[in-house]
């Protein structure tokens, strides 16, 4: 697998499961300092999903959330323009 594929196929997932407020957002703040085009987040609390979503929106990212067995997979994507 080429390096580029690896980058495209396996983005690093930030695991914020079980962390109490406001640590999930703090964690994302740190991670998002790298200013990449997209990030993946795994959470088990709707509250952290909402908080991260709000933070990401202010940083110019849109969020896509899907739920599976009480866990939330979030994809943050940089909005163009």
């Amino acid at each position: 697998m080429s390096l580029q594929n690896q980058k495209r196929g396996r983005r690093k997932m930030t695991d914020v499961r079980g962390l109490s407020c406001p640590q999930p957002v703090l964690m994302m703040m740190k991670v998002m300092q790298s200013h990449e085009d997209s990030y993946e987040v795994l959470s088990d609390q709707i509250v952290s999903v909402e908080n991260i979503k709000r933070y990401a929106a202010r940083e110019g990212y849109s969020a896509d959330v899907r739920e599976e067995n009480g866990e939330f997979y979030m994809t943050l994507t940089k909005c163009v323009g």
Binding site: R17, G18, L19, S20, C21, P22, Q23, V25, L26, M29, D44, Q45, I46, V47, E50, R54, Y55, G70
Partner: protein
Amino acid sequence: MLSDLKKRKWMLFGVGGMVGILSALLSFAGNPTNMGMCIACFIRDSVGALKMHNAAGTCYIRPEIIGIVLGSFAISLLKKEFAPKGGSSTITRFVIAFFMMFGCLMALGCPFRMVLRMAGGDVNAMLAIIGFVAGIGVGVIFLKKGYSLGRSYRQSKAEGCVLPVIMCILLILAIIDLFYDILATTAFGEGPGGMHAPLLVSLIVGLLIGCIAQRSRMCMAGAFRDLMLFRDGSLLRILLGVLAGALVCNLILQGLVSTEILNDAASRSFFRLGMADQSIAHTNVFWNIVGMFPVGMASVLLGGCPLRQLVLAGEGNTDSVACIGGLALGAAFAHNFLLASSAAGPTDAGKIAVCISIVVIAFIGIANTKKE
């Protein structure tokens, strides 16, 4: 987009306003003035009713506490947000909450009551908030340095239902007590515990506030914490809403009572600006401020103020249940060893206890901060 954002801001303010009005109305319905709702005092009263301390006038099972937990429990079940979990340094949380109670009882109230007191014109509370915000500031520094109590993990539904079941049993006890006085609470007529709204009113308002607080994630400490950390004023808007709602409600009640349109048997005052003669308060500025300092710090280290802990406990967070246990034990301890203040002012033992609280909570903060 912008109008959506504006709408949300007003909605948060309105949500807080509703809770503020409900709390102020509880005072009118019989709770002490400026104390329509207080998580610390009401846990203290409930613990007293169960004879874990015998401080005169502070013994009554407060249906508001039961209501908040059950309200949050019911709405989280309905919204599929009931998710039992725990195991994030449970014992440490218990200890933080235990020491937090000493601060609450020094300044005579939890952060939520502090806001209600401000809405009643109590200048002591307006000064105490300095200590609270300073404590939150220190907590935020810990967070920025990498403080964490670790992750929580999923637990069984049964584990998450323990506190709601306990609350149901307490409710049954309270109802039986109403008719047969099995807890002998009527013997304690004098004092804040003797002043209370009718059981059903307290319970319904508690349930409503529990539902609203669960949906809005309201938290008195989170209000300042999020502002400091993220420049996010969402929770602060709710706090300001509570303040405004309670203030307007108090002013209207005061107006109606003083013009004798409304007849208040005890001719209580619902709004009085000043420091002296406030309801269940003392005027020691220094210790009001110092007392709220560990409360602010502890609220940040725990991830929420006492009200938020009740709501989280209703959602199945057993770490928060441990917090409530810590608060309850702290309250019993504080009254058995005369650490709690009264209208006469703080006690010497209480001052020492608050100093110890600050040291212990700060130590826990340092011990759980990992350098990355």
